[in-house]
């Protein structure tokens, strides 16, 4: 995973709450067996609408998505994270994330930055008033800046550390292989097995 310290890019105001992962990428787009090529399915149902924010040229190259509460609820599909990344997003800002989506983001290197509702409102207003304006999201200091706006965002310390260092989760766990083996040796024999 690439290290993530700070990102500056065009902010995209997505004035919607409860954007579940079926809306981020519908199931019919989940048939690929790779981690790339999912950008076509991103917000597929809305992309046909000319007025949809990503269809406006000012926001077309957006890399920081600003969404309402409960972004990424529902299905566990990590394809939702990949679709956002494949499209070019590096950061999603919301006032509340679905748990699994937030976890998936951290594993894949997409920064899920949680802010207060009022910050979302202020960012939406700013980005709509200044279409194509950039937002800076600094993971070192956990701050978000756009124009004169500056506020802090939340992310759990462990995910922040892993993103800053660009660390592979599996590698970290395998460094504790002895602990896993010790645990396995102590498991009761009646626990079920599939083979």
């Amino acid at each position: 995973m690439e290290k993530f310290s700070s990102h500056t890019g065009v902010g995209v105001p997505l004035r919607r709450s409860n954007v579940d992962t079926d809306q981020i990428i519908p199931a019919v787009y989940l048939k690929r067996v790779t981690r790339d090529g999912f950008e076509d399915g991103l917000f597929a149902a809305w992309r046909g609408d000319e007025s949809f924010v990503l269809n406006r040229p000012e926001y077309a190259h957006g890399s920081v998505l600003v969404a309402g509460p409960d972004f990424g609820t529902g299905s566990s599909r990590e394809h939702a994270v990949w679709a956002l990344q494949n499209y070019g997003f590096k950061v999603v800002v919301s006032s509340r994330f679905g748990d699994i989506f937030r976890g998936n983001s951290g594993k894949s290197g997409l920064l899920a930055a949680q802010v207060d509702d009022k910050v979302i409102g202020a960012l939406w207003a700013y980005l709509e008033e200044h279409p194509g304006a950039e937002i800076t999201v600094d993971l070192e200091t956990k701050t978000i800046r756009a124009g004169d706006l500056e506020d802090s965002f939340d992310i759990d310390d462990y995910t922040r550390w892993r993103l800053l260092e660009g660390l592979d989760d599996i590698g970290i766990t395998l460094s504790h292989e002895d602990d896993i083996a010790a645990y396995e040796n102590a498991r009761p024999s009646w626990k079920p097995a599939t083979l």
């Binding site: 067996v33 462990y158 602990d179």
Partner: protein, 473 residues
Amino acid sequence: MGKTLAPRTLAEKVWDEHVVRSAEGEPDLLFIDLHLIHEVTSPQAFDGLRLAGRSVRRPDLTLATEDHNVPTLDWDKPIADPVSRTQVETLRKNAEEFGVRLHPLGDVEQGIVHVVGPQLGLTQPGMTIVCGDSHTSTHGAFGALAFGIGTSEVEHVLATQTLPQARPRTMAVNVSGSIPDGVTAKDLILTLIAQTGTGGGQGFVVEYRGQAIEELSMEGRMTVCNMSIEWGAKAGLIAPDQTTFDYLKDRPEAPKGTDWDAAVEHWSTLRTDDDAEFDLEIDLDASTLTPFVTWGTNPGQGVPLGANVPSPEDFVEETDQVAAEKALTYMGLEAGTPMREIKVDTVFIGSCTNGRIEDLRLAASIVEGRQVDPQTRLLVVPGSARVRLQAEDEGLDVIFKEAGAEWRGAGCSMCLGMNPDQLAPQERSASTSNRNFEGRQGKGGRTHLVSVPVAAATAIRGTLSSPADLEQI
């Protein structure tokens, strides 16, 4: 570990039993007892293993089945859609290469992953169970700590049989009283989600408890736990009891002989201690429950069947008002319309929420001797091949077919419309599944989430209905 004498909740007990490693400032490393996989969320995980030269640490704690993307017609023939076929074949190749047990299409144990685990007896109390599917919470019905994960985590579990997890908060949902006749576990959970909202359970492992929960069958408990994710909970679970043990006894993968005795002895300890404290408690009186249906585009947008479609002004918060307005437009509904007057094109009975044998028996008992409304399609999709065979053994398929329903093969089917079973744009469904999101069952499709009895009665009358609305025969 280090957790000793302090009173603990059920979730904390199961958690503590699975901590491989715990360190300050880090998530706990949890051992995973059972990893279920399917074709949609696993290919990239296996690719990751290959790229890093890693193997599957515990194929003996891993089980694969094909469910999300499989046809429910002509399942004995090659899959027509080449992209779907490639995905299913990729799972078959990966299972073979990495030595994972697979129940493919056509196998008697194939089916929706959350139906297969319990019916094999692999899902047992006190286990940690994960799957790259958010409805993994279903297995919590057995007192297991079960939750959905993403593909990166699937790869992590394949490689290490563990997951780093931050300790969640705990919540109790205390359901007092008894569920009235004609009302089901589905109505209970839909009512709860409407009260709490889709984010109300976020960050919590929820224990459902109280008289109404204890009185539920295992199937009903699975329905409740299944939809935990729909109010944002990390997992939902129910303390194991005699109902649980009776369900598990003699299942193919359940412990046998002295192992059974040892297991039951341990399972019996898996209860929340009397003086344990939850971070949050919610109370619900089951005796006030009525058939409950959704009108909007998330599972929290629901009302009693006897109510009217709400108006955006009925909501206090501005975000709820905006969401209601968007939902009404998408659903093609007018505020004030009685829910019972909403005409439905397709009824879907199935899914990991309501696709088990008890659900099919209940549905069949309602449609028996009646005819599906001529303008309505009824699709009945068993949750697993075993459920299909059992239903056919009992003659349920004949009852459905004689009523004019379509009887299909096992899979996720129209719950998520990944296979050809989809709604057309603006087509309206009453569905026993778990999500009424925009486009979930097909682009532009309009979904009302309902219980099994409401689904069956709706198929007969053609408008949202309960069995009480049907003419007596």
